[in-house]
């Protein structure tokens, strides 16, 4: 087990390095954006002098490298800074949004992963039958629709009939059951979006193993077909499945802007879009960093879990 902790430490170190590189990329990319907050707030009629004065006031006149170093220094100390647009603490802005985003991501995961695994296992069990094709076609169709279209379909069928709310308002005081009820539709939309990918990987990873001698051995021991797959193939297929699940989780945290907008859900995605349109650079930077962090942490978790799922890697000879 010692080697696993060593690996975790190693990957965490690499993750930090990646974060550093990403922070440069984020900062650089935002520098490249045309226009800045001063121009945006003062409008087109502002004279160059007022714009310059305003820039000086909010510190935009300093050279980029200085601003980057200042920003990074603050971030490392846990100070994300203030929003340039309305002067609020960014940590406060994010603090109210991040839990919502995580809640929705977790909700969709809890729905999607068991469904995807079950469908994948069943598709592998009944491979090349009508059932297999039906599952494939259905999940592929759902992934092929644009998210907003799926969302509107669900609103049409499930919200118009009054079963679920189409506006996913949630507040800090709301109980868990209320939250679950109110966010059912966005969670379901996201489930449709991510299931196909995970299900197909589960099926492929299992089918890949079915020609192995130890699968034949299991059959010759009298193990039933379902158990052959669940007990003998699945544990050896975990590594690719875990990786796909992690990628989809990362997507659920970072890529749900459209769904948040459709259901007016107060998540990080909306905050990001709003801030970009307002040129609220500090907020955009902070949110981007959080997204990057989510990707890195999830991939790290996936690596560790796939290692743990493989006895050859944790039990040395």
């Amino acid at each position: 087990m010692g080697s696993v902790w060593k690996m975790v430490a190693h990957r965490l170190g690499l993750g930090l390095l990646t974060m550093f590189v990403i922070s440069i990329l984020i900062f650089g990319a935002i520098e490249l954006l045309p226009g800045d907050l001063a121009e945006e707030i003062l409008g087109q009629s502002a004279t160059p002098e007022t714009v310059a004065a305003f820039r000086k006031e909010i510190g935009l006149d300093k050279p980029p490298v200085t601003r980057y170093v200042e920003w990074l220094g603050n971030v490392v100390q846990g100070n994300l800074g203030r929003s340039l647009a309305n002067g609020r603490e960014i940590s406060e802005l994010i603090g109210s949004r991040l839990p919502n985003t995580l809640f929705l991501a977790l909700y969709a995961t809890v729905l999607a992963v068991p469904i995807a695994l079950t469908l994948g296992i069943l598709a592998a069990l009944y491979r090349n039958t009508l059932f297999d094709r039906l599952i494939n076609i259905t999940t592929l169709t759902s992934i092929s629709f644009p998210e907003f279209f799926l969302a509107y379909l669900l609103i049409f069928f499930l919200a118009q009939t009054g079963l679920f709310p189409s506006m996913s308002n949630i507040g800090p005081k709301m109980g868990l059951s209320g939250k679950i009820y109110n966010t059912f539709l966005p969670a379901l939309t996201l489930t449709f979006v991510v299931t196909a990918h995970m299900m197909r990987m589960t099926r492929a990873a299992i089918v890949n193993l079915l020609a192995s001698p130890y699968i034949e051995m299991a059959k010759l021991k009298g193990v039933s077909p379902l158990w052959v797959i669940v007990r003998h193939a699945l544990p050896n297929a975990f590594a690719p499945i875990i990786n796909v699940v992690a990628l989809n989780l990362a997507y659920l945290i970072t890529g749900v802007v459209v769904v948040e907008v459709v259901f007016v859900y107060p998540g990080l995605g909306q905050l990001m879009v709003d801030s970009v349109s307002k040129r609220d650079i500090t907020v955009v930077q902070a949110v981007s960093l959080i997204f990057a962090c989510a990707y890195i942490l999830l991939n790290l978790t996936a690596d560790v879990l796939s290692t743990l799922s493989n006895p050859r890697l944790i039990h040395k000879r």
């Binding site: 001698p213 130890y214 034949e216 051995m217 021991k221 193990v223 050896n236 006895p311 050859r312």
Partner: protein
Amino acid sequence: MTGPQNLLEIKNLCIEGRSGTSWSNIVNGIDLTLERGEVIGLIGESGAGKSTIGLAAMGFARDGCRISDGTILFDGIDLRAASVSARRKLRGNRIAYVAQSAAASFNPAYKLIDQYCEGPVLHGSMERDKAESDAIELYRRMQLPSPDEIGFRYPHQVSGGQLQRAMTAMAMACRPDLIVFDEPTTALDVTTQIEVLSAIRDIVGQFNTAAIYITHDLAVVAQMADRIKVLLRGEEVEESDTKTMLKTPKEEYTKSLWAVRTYARPEHPLQSTQETPVLSVENVSASYGDLQVLFDASFDIHRRQTVAVVGESGSGKSTAARVISGLLPPETGTVKFEGERLPPEYKRRSKNQLRQIQMIYQMADTALNPKHRIRELIGRPAELYLGLRGKALEERVRELLSLIELEPDEYIDRMPSELSGGQKQRIGIARALAAEPQVIICDEVTSALDQLVAEGILKLLDQIQDKFGLAYMFITHDLATVRSIADEVVVMKEGRVVETGPKTKMFTPPHHPYTELLLSSVPEMDASWLDRLLESRANKNVEK
């Protein structure tokens, strides 16, 4: 019809295999009967249908195969007519299977004992606790080291020979009436093979289990079986009890199988010991990472000579080849070609130096790029090393094809997938020859081939050697091959060279103790060989 004394009664068994959309016969009207406690050996080359028949005895057909005709009666139960679940109840319970590669047939995700207990718990014959203590008992009977503890290891933590015994124990878990052994020792070293063979024979005898023993090795089957059935392309050649079969085989095909081991090439005596060896390995040590695998190894290879490097798996034979070819730079020591020191890394060797040493690999299947035609496979080294182009290149490829006895017009545009195993190995030879080398390293080139095919390859290699005066480094674990082709022998053990010398000296006593162990472990065509060997070894141990 069905005598109650027969445990297994197979009549007119026909099995079809699918190729594309059509079905063709791969097993054609086989009859087989087996009494309780009896062992029958199925023998034949690859494609004879041995495994297919063995699996059919369990009512099982692999994907792409189907049992098309005949009856399979196991203890009066018609396996073809029985329901799927009825067959499943028999498998692992009353009929068990031991596969060729135990390393691949144990599930890598579970400990050995979990896999042992799966059968008894599934079939309801034992509770988990009981099954565990039973497993330990059987591990002990199979003479596995530390039987109390070995079951709690994962398959990758256990050696091949031990895994094969653990698999036999697992097959015994439900005390079946019949076990199908599918080449259980083929992947093992000779010294390990003996332990497994005797363990299998003991346990089968102790529980009076009937067995179908499938192998391509006559000497092995002679130790194990009461009766032998010889198969060829899905049909029976002949069947009789083991002694009769060994002494007086009736059919020509059986006789030809028996005769294979007699091939021997005339030796090429060393011209003079003063001559500079074409290749010399001097005090080479090499490691993979922290693991040292070669310790101070030295040997020479002279022109027109075949040096056989023998040893068990892990003895460092192939590592030596990798050092010579520059794939693995040694830590200390040098490799000299015609007295000149070769750079340790292949990247730093000149094109001419690279050209002089070529390799032929064990798995011709994976050593040939499946997307290239024969023309490209053979033509590429000729183009690279000798700068042949266009017409000259085509001529050369055709010449090489004739040399390896493949009709140029027919084969030059084929893909590797359109060749048999022996033909692929011939292409491997032609590819090595295309570079016009002085030394060819043959790494277990005949191990994956049937005996008759392997003999053809050995003869071809000899002809080529005579024609071009090549030196061969012939890596093998098979002493019969050494006996038939070598001039000099290098015996390796655990990364060290333990003995070198001319073949005749090597095969005449007194031997180095390890050479002695290797030599005595090669099965002989004598049904009592294993008994005598075990007895003499037991006596020796007592003397010590």
